[in-house]
Amino acid sequence: MTKTITDVVCPFCGTLCDDLEVVVSDDGKKLLEVYNACAIGAEKFLHSQAKDRITRPRMRQEDGSWKEISYDEAADYTARMLADAKKPLMYGWSSTNCEAQSVGSEIGEAVGAVMDNTATVCHGTSLIAVQDIGIPSCTLGEVKNRADRILFWGCNPAHAHPRHMSRYSIFPRGFFTGKGHTGRKVIVVDPRVTDTARVADVHLQIEQGHDYELLDALRVAFKGEQLPDVVAGIPKAKIYEVAETLKSGRFAIIFFGMGVTQSIGKNHNIDAAIAVTRDLNEYTKAAIMPMRGHYNVTGSGQVWGWQFGFPFAVDLSRGFARYNPGETTSNDLLRRDEVDAVFVLGSDPGAHFPFSSVRKIYDLPSVAVEPHETPTTEICKVHVPVAFVGVEVGGCAYRMDNVPIETRKVVDAPEGMMTDEEFLKSVLMRVREIKGV
């Protein structure tokens, strides 16, 4: 007999779907089927069942081969590395639960680390913009129940957040949106003809790197002021039309992604996008929301928020919390040789950082805590495989709209494997022994 577990939370993207059903074997050791998930989410669950999964920590040898070590040895190596370092970088924190993030904070305090999460190469710019201008936002249910104007800017949920459109933004029938997608106008701003753009009522195929101009042009158009004939490759008539569409809605929402946060202009683009949203609130109701990537990058910003007061790039190396993006952000630190050890948990900088940063990680003492084999585990000195959060251990995660949901454990981890939180606790204990506190 198999068992079906309902209301399972998907630990993949910031959409944090919580309606998955997972079929497990009677003894709860094997995960057999995943229902309701998108292709990526289902794969994440099934990955945990891989026969060739690494289940014990391993250390890189002189000759480049791996040697299996115990969790105790791994914790000892990690603790020594962090305690000996003058300014270690503790990066990642986005694919794990808040409980582990909290223990990480304590280690960071004890060793004087720089704590940074994946926002640093993602929505960190959005967080900076929010510090400039604020953010009128809402939960995704407000979008589902009320929104009739949906604007996707520089994001492609069809591929990056596959169930976003059906659960929250385009298709669902909510309380005041009983007609589903037929009652909504969908606008996509993207230089590419993405699959999201294909389902849009209006696709503004903007010239790459001209987001700021187009956002500003919308603000001009809201006020009915004069525009040049073409802005960012879009004819002015089209801009006036889109401005009118947005103003005439009952509830407008702007979702934005890497296309605006990491293209030229960065946080200034988001400043402008939020200003557009503020302006719209003069005419109707409007909200804006970053399409957060990792399923709990938002949570990491929340945990550090209440513990240190800053959502990313938190430098604890002076004994108190400092925040100065550009100085205390991971890539800047790595490329300026300002950190002397690297600890990675719940992220894959090996795949996503610039090569110049990746090389620095390779040259430094480094530990990667990660259930998968990734480019990061390939370049680190020690790889600590752990249980999958949201599959083999539960814990709290924050959706892209900051709603916290407790993920569930659906199967046991392979015999003898530690969770993120357990491993971090043993590191913390060792750090305290070494530091004598």
Partner: protein, 568 residues
């Protein structure tokens, strides 16, 4: 557990009726006991010092989503004030929205031991509990917001009190909440469309119910259940000139309703931060104090308690579930604005604000708050708060004590106002010479709020049997002092005990205590209709499933459950 005997202090305790007499307070097994009940106590010499129960804050925004928005979107709030850990203290930071760790320590330093989080969006309850868990020392509870909740709007439209009560009981359990909070009833739902409800008769869009129906209905449902605390109210029309009439209209909705609670409270409505609701005039040019009218009502109706919401003349961060108000505020001061509407339940906004003594309106607000307390006939019903951090950070409580206890301190401040004469004209404060004594302060900060919360059996006094929450301050009321001595002494307790554990010893924090989270488990008769409605709303309109909504127990590592039986 260790025994303590706090000897020879000047004790101020409304519960024992001690007004500064020298007395000894004994602690054993976490409780206050008769001095004869301790055998080998550790002696705490309190000679020449003031001894009071631990402070109880009935209304502060210290944990949860909007508080954290305030932290994360205001790095400037941490400028030059992040401090390293030392001893058992961890790193801390923040002024108006401190980190949770600083929140716990700073309250303890003021001798406070119980703090209620004033507004918890139910969908974000887990977040609120995570922050409270990380707030050391303090006993805390959180009030889920109900005034714009779709279930409540639908039930109360037809005056279905029993269903409303059953839903409240369910939600308190699901969110591990403490009391029924109402913020701008109907107005925040209207704000989901960019609108507002300006007075108690302004109907809520679509739901076709008035704020008056919501307020009255929630009071009745609260009394139907017999919850420890009364309905906790933030009325419509906050912060607008002329709004005192709306406040009085809201007060009047409590008339004729009698408290039904075994927890010893006498009120059916607690109205919070009344300073923000006591404005006359019809524009910012002629705004004036209506504290006399407001207190005239409060003094003559004993089924109401209020708290001040005192402006402290600081740069701070406003945050409230009153979404439309925060939008209004950002239009006024043009500072950054965060808004977070919450599906089916509520909304919120966050805007930084600078209460400058050089701005006439801020000075008038400052006067109004103090007038409320100084015009109070019964200090057991008027409590000291700053609506932290809305009117100012909680660390200013000792400064407010100074203002309340010293006319000289008030005059100094009035003299420093840029528009002194206009401020005096628009307010009553300059004509008030009352100076509160420490006994009245203890009523406003300890015994009164504890009683209003239905927690007089635990907190707020020094009678044997109560929790051993005791603060000792370096203040000798029998010696001459200048006003600033009050502020200094009460900002920095010499000793503090929380549930019998010594938290502060000679001004040093020596323990993180055994922090508890209070919540109310109200049992009601089975109500299939409400459970069906809950299931349906989750299926169709929420974006989380019903089974993922309830906050599970491990978010409250040290819970204190107050059981209420409303099945009869």
């Amino acid at each position: 557990m260790a025994e303590f005997l706090i000897k020879n202090g000047f004790v101020f305790d409304p519960i024992l009726g001690i007004k500064g007499d020298v007395a000894d307070i004994a602690i054993k097994d976490g409780k206050i006991v008769e001095t004869s009940a301790v055998t080998k106590p550790k002696i705490i010499d309190a000679a020449g010092k003031t001894v009071m129960a631990g402070g109880v804050d009935i209304h502060a925004h210290v944990a949860g989503p909007k508080v954290n928005i305030g932290r994360n979107f205001r790095p400037e709030d941490k400028l030059f004030n992040c401090t390293p850990g030392h001893g058992i203290e961890r790193m801390q930071g923040g002024f108006s929205v401190p980190t949770t760790i600083r929140t716990g320590y700073n309250y303890a330093r003021m001798g406070y031991t119980t703090v209620m989080e004033a507004a918890m969006p139910p969908l974000y309850a887990r977040h609120t509990h995570e922050e409270m868990r990380d707030t050391p020392i303090l006993d805390q509870g959180a009030y889920p917001v109900f005034g714009n909740n779709w279930f409540v709007l639908e039930y109360l439209k037809n005056h279905e009190i029993e269903n409303t009560a059953a839903y409240i009981a369910w939600l308190l359990r699901a969110t591990k909440g403490y009391a029924v909070k109402v913020v701008n009833p109907g107005g925040t739902e209207a704000w989901a469309w960019g609108l507002n409800c300006d007075n108690v008769h302004d109907p809520v869009p679509y739901f076709d119910i008035t704020p008056a129906q919501i307020i009255k209905g929630l009071i009745e449902a609260n009394e139907y259940l017999g919850l420890p605390h009364s309905m906790h109210m933030h009325a419509n029309n906050l912060g607008n000139p002329g709004n005192y009439t709306t406040t009085l209209d809201s007060f009047k909705l409590s008339e004729g309703i009698k408290p039904n609670s075994k927890f010893g409270r006498d009120q059916v409505m607690h109205h919070t931060h009344v300073q923000f609701h006591s404005y006359g005039g019809d524009s910012w040019a002629n705004v004036e104090s209506k504290a006399k009218e407001i207190m005239g009502y409060v003094n003559s109706h004993d089924n109401i308690t209020i708290d001040m919401g005192q402006v402290t003349l600081d740069e701070t961060t406003t945050m409230t579930a009153d979404g439309p108000f925060e939008h209004h505020l950002t239009e006024l001061n043009h500072l950054k604005w965060a808004n977070a509407d919450v599906e089916l339940e509520t909304g919120s906004g966050v805007v930084p604000y600078i209460y400058s003594p050089n701005i006439k309106v801020c000075a008038i607000q400052w006067c109004i708050g103090l007038e409320l307390a100084l015009l109070a006939k019964d200090p057991m019903r008027v409590f000291m708060t700053t609506d932290h951090p809305n009117a100012g950070p909680f660390i200013r409580y000792p400064r407010i004590m100074k203002w309340l206890m010293s006319q000289e301190a008030r005059e100094q401040q009035i003299d420093a106002f840029k528009y002194k004469d206009k401020v005096i004209d628009a307010t009553n404060l300059a004509g008030i010479d009352r100076e509160l004594d420490l006994y009245e302060i203890a009523q406003m900060t300890r015994a009164g709020p504890a009683k209003s919360l239905g927690l007089a059996h635990m907190y707020g006094g020094l009678a044997p049997g109560l929790e051993a929450d005791v603060a000792v301050f370096d203040f000798n009321p029998n010696e001459s002092y200048v006003p600033d001595d009050i502020e200094n002494a009460f900002s920095n307790a010499r000793h503090l005990f929380k549930a019998g554990v010594q938290i502060i010893s000679d001004h040093e924090i020596v323990s993180n205590g055994n922090k508890r989270t209070l919540w109310v488990n109200a049992r009601v008769n089975e109500n299939p209709q409400v459970m069906r409605d809950v299931k349906e709303k989750f299926l169709r309109y929420y974006t989380v499933t019903l089974n993922n909504y309830e906050v599970s127990g491990h978010y409250l590592p040290n819970p204190y459950v107050i059981e209420v039986d409303a099945t009869q």
